[in-house]
Symmetry: C2
Subunit: 234 residues, 2 copies
């Protein structure tokens, strides 16, 4: 049985709600633009633009907002009323300043595990947005270290573990994304636990390549993690 | 005389051109909108919006782009033509994918100093944008460590130096911003060298509070740094 000494936690939709803001904003965006095109068409166009723009803009709500504006121009054939763009900017500012909603059981789990393991918060996305959430969440005290990475690649995990002197086989990552939290960690011979979230962007549920068996597990809720770890090793 | 063991380099407008993209884009933006208001008024409105939005959006070109769009709505009284918003998005994408232009003498200086000191690249702003520039610049090989911070506060420098086991009195920061590169480092009892850049955002040239004497210096060009260091200590 492996000895796990360090646990990494994803943040968005693992520790706190995130995708809900995208989903709600997308819905409202499509409603705002519904004078120009059918709602399904607007949603599909936004998905395409968003996925494409991730390569140019990176992740985060500001990127998403720029993609909404681009989509508004596109679905309206360049005729969108300026006040609707104003509404999009207004929605974005509200989300970027919203309160942080912790998921069920998060504080209890971190409280129980932080004396037993080195805990890391490892989140991808936009530095300013993520730092604000970490700060507002009140969770920093449970973590040995928090790290925002531009993308969760095997190299990004490897670099972090090397800096922190953690052998990959002693590291377990917990998160809701097969693509970002499970696959890259399994690839570098670490361990991973998937905690599904009912709202997960389709980009994240598809790992992008074949996922090897054996080094990752799934639990229904984060609050099951302490018991899982007891069975798993120590 | 102090013994300097580690040197931090700012990146934007210290190692490579950055502000020029903002200046050029601002000018083009004001020209695009000149049908709605006088150019000076547009530029002033953008400056106000940009400075205010830094608190909500953070730094970086995506934030700046959102501020341009907000300003376009504002100066046009909500009447701006959608195609002009499209032009703004297009400009943004070009800048976000532009080649990196290294400043004069940068490679030579880093090549000369990297065997003698631990070099750090310390840049503030948007993680994705900065990581792209670091990667594209080809300069990573000279640095012991590169770090993107959301803002260059005394605490941010302190945290980095602690993680890297560098006493502040052995650390010297090099950059073009009194506010970001000089004042916070002097505050934590480190040393700093200002290398002015002809284009520096006014937000950065005002340190925001009184700057103590004695722990910082100014040199005209980055290529003067090796000679300065020889006189300074070792």
């Amino acid at each position: 049985m492996p000895t796990i000494t360090a646990i990494g936690f994803d943040a968005d939709d693992t520790l706190w709600e995130s995708e809900i803001y995208y989903v709600t904003t997308k819905k409202e965006f499509a409603r705002l633009l519904s004078g120009y095109a059918p709602i399904e068409q607007i949603e599909a166009a936004l998905e395409v633009t968003e996925t494409h723009n991730v390569q140019i803009y990176g992740y985060g709500f500001k990127s998403f907002t720029l993609s909404m504006i681009e989509t508004a121009l596109q679905v309206s054939g360049g005729e969108v009323q300026a006040r609707l763009i104003g509404d999009v900017l207004e929605m974005a500012k509200q989300v970027l300043q919203a309160e942080i909603k912790l998921l069920d059981g998060v504080e209890g789990v971190l409280h129980e595990l932080s004396p037993l393991y080195s805990l890391f918060l490892i989140t991808k996305g936009e530095l300013f947005e993520q730092q604000r959430k970490i700060h507002k969440s009140g969770l920093r005290r449970f973590f040995h270290h928090t790290e925002v990475v531009p993308d969760k690649t095997p190299e990004a995990y490897m670099r972090l573990l090397r800096t922190q002197n953690i052998p990959p086989e002693q590291f377990l990552m917990v998160g809701n994304s097969l693509r970002s939290d499970i696959l890259p960690v399994v690839t570098i011979q670490g361990w991973a636990v998937l905690v599904p979230h009912s709202l997960t962007w389709s980009h994240e549920t598809t790992p992008g390549q074949e996922l090897p068996d054996g080094r990752w597990f799934e639990i229904p809720r984060l609050s099951d993690l302490p018991n899982f770890l007891k069975r798993f090793g120590k």
